[in-house]
């Protein structure tokens, strides 16, 4: 028999710690390899941590509610094998496969994966020399920096040619690189997004007031940071309009029964997704990111649609990958599945990553219009609202005016004004609404 200390493994990209939600085992339990031993809540999701080896639980280090850092010993097992110092459990293989040339860990959150043209599925051959560029570009021959410093800059996703060296003869030092990465003097670990200096005013309530204080942590803390960062970085503007969705409602009613036969419930969201993707194809700047560090606009040739989901833990945004390649039926199923698991806190981290544009469906709750916040590094978010019966004035065939009752639905498009001009957003919303009002047109965009 031997004792083995098991450390908290990597929980995901950029995740350095997690809150212990609950233990799934107790001392004395005999467990198998890969059996989940605890639920941990990170700033992104709740995950189950499996044991890397089989054995008998000897000691649990930490109680529910504790914050445990990645690499910290979590529990001790008695195993059959020979004694070894320690082992790390694993949630998912942390190793990322090539051929994507740049690993995301090199980039700031503002630059999801270094935006080299190669990281997108590139077309075979016929690439121009320009399409073969690497980011960050190689150090110019005149840049004075040691090979190790050059590599550090690359791993942090920084173009060393743009750093002004503070060393003798203009040498770019290791500190210069760390400083411009925003990582400050931290060691060469994973870079963290440095929140801009935003005042953090304290709050003191009236003495004796009935108040309760809970720590700002986990998903709530991450939401707070993301919202703050997005509002800080992106100049938002929102455009609102209403659509006559009478035809869409009819179509959905027709398909509803059909879908039920096929075992799924069909909502309006997949139709909105399809109309959105078709419109975004004509307005690629809505499916883009701004890489502030590189001062580049990254146009994405793939369509991953995030949709905001309200959960007991807070707002989560599951992502439907390559939504353009999926049918309405497939989208419906996936939406239902992701929403359910979001509510249960069972989404995998990468199911909430990589959206290229997001839809927020506030209509399911209420309100006529909202001004949503963009999910940085995306540049736009589409809001959809409640369907209501609405009287409208209609022009008859003979030119006479008459009242009609239609199904009406409000939409908003909130965009990053750095990239998207007001008139462009107006045209975008108009094109989108024209598709939603004539859902048959979606057939034309069908793949």
């Amino acid at each position: 028999m031997a004792e083995k200390s098991i450390q908290l493994p990597e929980l995901g990209e950029g995740v350095t710690e997690g809150e212990l939600v609950r233990w799934l085992v107790k001392p004395g339990d005999k467990i198998e390899a890969d059996q989940p031993v605890a639920e941990m809540m990170t700033d992104k999701a709740t995950v189950e941590v499996p044991s890397p080896v089989a054995g008998v639980v000897k000691e649990l280090k930490g109680k529910e509610g504790d914050i445990i850092e990645v690499g910290q010993v979590m529990f001790v097992l008695e195993t059959d094998g020979a004694a070894t110092a320690s082992a790390s459990s694993h949630t998912k293989p942390a190793h990322s496969e090539a051929p994507a040339p740049a690993e995301a860990k090199a980039a700031l959150p503002s630059a999801p994966a270094a935006p080299t043209p190669q990281s997108a599925p590139a077309p075979m051959a016929a690439q121009t020399a320009g399409g073969m560029e690497v980011y960050p570009p190689p150090a110019d021959a005149k840049v004075l920096a040691t090979p190790a410093t050059r590599r550090l800059a690359r791993e942090l996703g920084i173009d060393i040619n743009t750093i002004k060296g503070t060393g003798i003869a203009g040498r770019v030092t290791r500190e210069d690189v760390l400083r411009s990465s925003g990582a400050g003097a931290t060691a060469a670990g994973a870079p963290v997004y440095q929140m801009p200096t935003i005042p953090r005013p304290s709050y003191t309530g009236p003495a004796g007031a009935a108040e309760e204080r809970v720590p700002l942590k986990g998903i709530r803390k991450k939401i707070a940071e993301n919202m703050q960062m997005s509002k800080h970085v992106i100049p938002h503007f929102t455009l609102m309009d209403e659509a006559n969705v009478t035809a869409l409602v009819e179509m959905r009613e027709e398909l509803k029964a059909q879908a039920e036969k096929l075992g799924t419930k069909i909502t309006y969201l997949p139709f909105v997704m399809k109309a959105l993707i078709a419109t975004v194809r004509d307005f690629p700047m809505f499916n883009a990111s701004i890489d502030d560090a590189a001062q580049e606009i990254v146009y994405k040739k793939y369509f991953n649609i995030g949709f905001a989901a309200d959960t007991p833990n807070g707002l989560l945004v599951p992502v439907i990958k390559n939504a353009d390649q999926k049918t309405i039926l497939q989208l419906s199923k996936e939406i239902l599945d992701l929403s359910k698991r979001a509510r249960e806190g069972k989404l995998a981290l990468d199911e909430m990553k990589g959206a290229t544009i997001t839809i927020t469906n506030i209509g399911s709750v209420g309100g006529t219009y909202a001004t949503p916040i963009i999910n940085h590094p995306e540049v736009a978010i589409l809001g959809m609202y409640k369907i209501v019966d609405k009287p409208v004035v209609k022009k008859g065939a003979d030119g006479s005016l008459e009242l009609d009752v239609i199904k009406s639905m409000n939409f908003t498009i909130t965009a990053d004004h750095r990239l998207i001009d007001g008139a462009v957003a107006a045209n975008f919303l108009k094109a989108f609404i024209s598709r939603i009002e004539n859902p048959g047109v979606l057939m034309l965009d069908m793949m």
């Binding site: 040339p101 090199a106 690439q127 090979p147």
Partner: protein, 485 residues
């Protein structure tokens, strides 16, 4: 049955085998395909065998010319070239065997055969026993280069030799004509001159090693080779050859006039060309430039994103150590690391006598890069105790620095062990060292390495072991003053 790999490397030379080992270290299922020799040209018919023979030639030369002054009387000395070749082969076999061991030890699958792309994802490999299909997520092209033939001089390896043939002779030729005064021609020509061959070098340019070495370094070598009996015909064009007795008669045009040269053999070393016309590279749509190099980006990725190219086939300089560096780089890139080729210098070494080695830029190149004021100085090996005690006093270390910052830009060495000394210069340049950094590093005495420190001091204007202007006068002279030694 197709075999599937994460990474397939085509060519097991100094680029390919290194790439394969690193890819395997990254946990990739890796194969290397080699049609000829494990270790490639370098280990079998290039760098390593030529160095073995050069060492032997140098040894003989020292026995004949330097030993007497040291007090030796050589009463009878004979040389058996066939035995020299056997020893050379043992050197090569040992190195190539080491490569195989390393590949095996790292779990790399070795496939012997000729690979051709069927599609961008599939290779057909012709082996001794048949044809295999090999597929991979990523391919690394490391198929190297081959000697260029010039019209009228098709290699028969009997009379008209390529470098490969010239390194395999079991008898020392009495006379040899070398067409091409580049580094391969001068290394092999110089080696045979040491063995007693009457060597004539025919070079089309107006100087030897044009564009390959610092002109002042070349002068030292040319002088020494002349002393050793080598003749040079510059601005001369080889027109053709005929058999004459047991040897050749080569027609050469010098200054508009034709001249006939007789020799046992003629060696043609006018350069190498990339093997990009093979393996159906064009057929799968790989972009190849006008000079025949496969086009790559700074990560050595080709226009087909899962295919990489390294070494001679991927561009100048065609040097083994550049290929190895790229091999590691590409394997790291395939493993998902963000890497790029950003070395400041590929040091070069030429094993002539005395050796030439360089890192960084020449004066001309520095000026072309926009450095307007340079500090340039030399320190001679004649002023170095170890060089004198080795009886190797020809040559110097020359340094070139930016006069504004004293940052070292280039180092050119001609002299004993230049090939071993240059690594310090390469490190200094990669680190962005200034002259002071090199000058203030204590170098052990008595060694050839002291010349680096002294050359840095000389470039700053105050070397100890040569006479330079007094410090006071120097500072009055201002920056950019050139210290000539």
């Amino acid at each position: 049955m197709a075999q599937n790999f994460d990474v397939v490397v085509i060519g097991a030379g100094p680029g390919g085998y290194v790439a394969a080992i690193r890819a395997a270290q990254h946990g990739k299922k890796t194969a290397v395909i080699e049609r000829e020799y494990m270790g490639g040209v370098c280990l079998n018919v290039g760098c390593i065998p030529s160095k073995a023979l050069i060492t032997a030639g140098h040894f003989l030369h020292r026995l004949e010319h330097q030993a007497p002054e040291m007090g030796f009387t050589v009463k009878s000395l004979s040389h058996d070239m066939a035995q020299t070749q056997k020893w050379k082969q043992s050197v090569c076999d040992r190195m190539a065997g080491g490569v195989e061991q390393l590949l095996k030890g790292n779990g790399v699958t070795m496939i012997r055969g000729e690979a051709t792309f069927k599609t961008a994802h599939e290779l057909t490999v012709k082996t001794k026993t048949g044809t295999e299909t090999v597929m991979a997520k990523n391919f690394i092209l490391a198929t190297g280069s081959r000697p260029i033939e010039i019209p009228g001089f098709a290699f028969d390896e009997k009379f008209v030799l390529s470098s490969t043939g010239a390194l395999a002779l079991t008898e020392v030729p009495k006379s040899l004509i070398v067409i091409g005064g580049g580094y391969i021609g001068l290394e092999i020509g110089g080696m045979y001159a040491n063995f007693g061959t009457k060597v004539t070098v025919v070079e089309a340019n107006k100087s030897l090693l044009m564009g390959l070495a610092d002109p002042e370094c070349v002068q030292v070598v040319q002088r020494r080779m002349k002393k050793n009996g080598v003749e040079f015909l510059l601005e001369a064009k080889a027109k053709g050859w005929t058999k004459s007795g047991n040897g050749v008669e080569v027609t050469v045009e010098v200054g508009g006039k034709e001249q006939k040269l007789k020799a046992d053999k003629v060696l043609v070393t006018v350069g190498r060309k990339p093997n990009s016309d093979q393996a159906n590279l064009k057929g799968i749509g790989l972009e190849i430039d006008a000079k025949g190099f496969v086009k790559v980006n700074a990560q050595r990725r080709t226009n087909i994103p899962h295919i990489f190219a390294i070494g001679d086939i991927a561009g100048q300089p065609m040097l083994a150590h550049k290929a190895s560096h790229e091999g590691v780089l590409v394997a790291d890139v395939i493993a998902g690391q963000n890497r790029v080729y950003d070395a400041k210098t590929v040091p070069s070494v030429i094993f002539v006598e005395p050796e030439i080695a360089a890192a960084g830029v020449t004066e001309e190149e520095a000026k072309a890069k926009g450095y307007t004021e340079l500090k340039v100085a030399k320190f001679p090996f004649g002023a170095n105790g170890r060089a004198v005690s080795l009886m190797e006093t020809d040559g110097f270390v020359k340094m070139i620095a930016d006069a504004k910052t004293n940052v070292l830009l280039g180092v050119h060495i001609v002299g004993p062990e230049a090939s071993n000394l240059i690594s310090e210069a390469a490190l200094a340049i990669e680190m962005g060292a200034r002259l002071e950094d090199v000058a203030l590093t204590i170098h052990p005495h008595p060694t050839l390495g002291e010349t680096m420190m002294e050359a840095a001091e000389a470039t700053l204007g105050h070397a100890i072991h040569i006479i330079q202007r007094p410090l006071a006068a120097k500072s009055a002279g201002g920056a950019g003053a050139r210290a000539n030694v």
